[in-house]
């Protein structure tokens, strides 16, 4: 039986390569107007939009946005805010993890995810004035 299943897998395996996620998370909630800047492109942020490394997230003067990353990190931004997802590697099997979020201006909430539990040292949050090392936590940041 095992050999039969294995040979079936080998057969189908040639046609269907394992899928791996290239995105780092997605937009969950939007209030007012918000955008994602990706290279030269400026995309209006909408619920479900997949996020990529180096995306710049911005909210309008009356905007707010919430995102959920692949390791369950939850970030939200208030009005006139701007942040960058500078680095996000989440391959727990290979113990290959790293995350750098830069809060450039505005107000933010942050709930750490699986990465901070597995390897707290791999998670970094930066503002223009300093950085945060986290130990499994919910916190707020305001950058004037």
């Amino acid at each position: 039986m095992r050999i039969y299943i294995l040979s079936l897998f080998l057969f189908f395996g040639l046609m269907v390569a394992p899928v791996s996620a290239s995105d780092v998370g997605s937009v969950k909630n939007i209030d007012g107007r918000a955008w994602i800047t990706r290279g030269e492109e400026q995309l209006p942020a909408t619920p479900g939009l997949r996020l990529m490394v180096l995306d710049i997230l911005k909210t309008d003067v009356d905007g707010a946005m919430g995102i959920i990353l692949r390791d369950d990190t939850i970030i939200s931004m208030g009005p006139s805010s701007q942040m960058v997802l500078s680095e996000f590697i989440f391959q727990p099997e290979e113990k290959h993890m790293g995350m750098l979020t830069k809060f450039l201006k505005g107000t933010f909430t942050y709930i750490s995810g699986v990465m901070a539990k597995l390897d707290p040292e791999s998670v970094k949050i930066e503002t223009p004035e300093g950085m945060v090392a986290i130990r499994g936590t919910h916190f707020l940041v305001k950058v004037e």
Partner: protein
């Protein structure tokens, strides 16, 4: 334009215009209070009590004194960001018999609960992650975990989920829920995890 330049110059001279970061620790969604360490090359401050806050005036100043921020100030500064904070994702586990790609009957009955969570949360982002226990070869288990995830993905699509909202990954034997020695069969590791964001 001339006025703008004047304002920019004034800002660079007056400390009050300099950027400033404020950090506030809150309880986690489960009520526990964690810990953050706020650092820059000039110093460090550790926050480990609810509503403790610390500010850094500039890159050349060390983190200031630890204060406690009251609820009213938290609300006035962070109300909008807190108001839109997403709730933690809903997670489901479906289990499998050894070598099988069909979820156990009691796990298959999770599908309606998953559908309910997707509708309830208006989810546009669903992950389906396949795993095996540590019995057998790496390649075989990679393929088995992939086929398990695909099967659950198809079940969700059949129940009406838009395929473009689902991301499927497979992890083989390398990410056990319950750590075991190699080659040990473990029912709790033969699983597909569904995350509804």
């Amino acid at each position: 334009m001339r006025r703008l330049i004047l304002i920019l110059m004034a800002c660079s001279l007056v400390a009050g215009c300099a950027p400033r970061s404020t950090f506030v620790l809150l309880p986690d969604p489960n009520g526990q209070v964690g810990k953050i360490i706020v650092t820059n090359p000039q110093g460090a401050q550790t926050l480990n009590q609810a509503r403790q806050s610390v500010a850094i005036k500039s890159k050349t100043d060390s983190p200031g004194k630890i204060k406690t921020m009251d609820e009213a100030e938290i609300h006035s500064l962070f109300g909008k960001a807190l108001g839109i904070q997403p709730s933690p994702p809903a997670k489901f586990l479906l289990y499998f018999k050894p070598e099988s790609v069909q979820p156990n009957p009691e796990s298959a009955s999770e599908i309606p609960k998953i559908m309910h969570a997707i509708k309830d949360r208006h989810s546009m982002d669903i992950s389906v992650n396949g795993h095996t226990d540590r019995k057998g070869e790496v390649d075989y288990n990679n393929e088995l975990s992939f086929q398990r995830a695909r099967r659950v993905q198809k079940m969700l699509e059949k129940a009406g989920v838009d395929p473009s909202l689902i991301t499927t990954t497979s992890h083989g034997k390398n990410n056990p829920l319950v750590p075991t020695a190699d080659n040990v069969p473990e029912p709790r590791n033969r699983r597909v995890e569904v995350i509804v964001r």
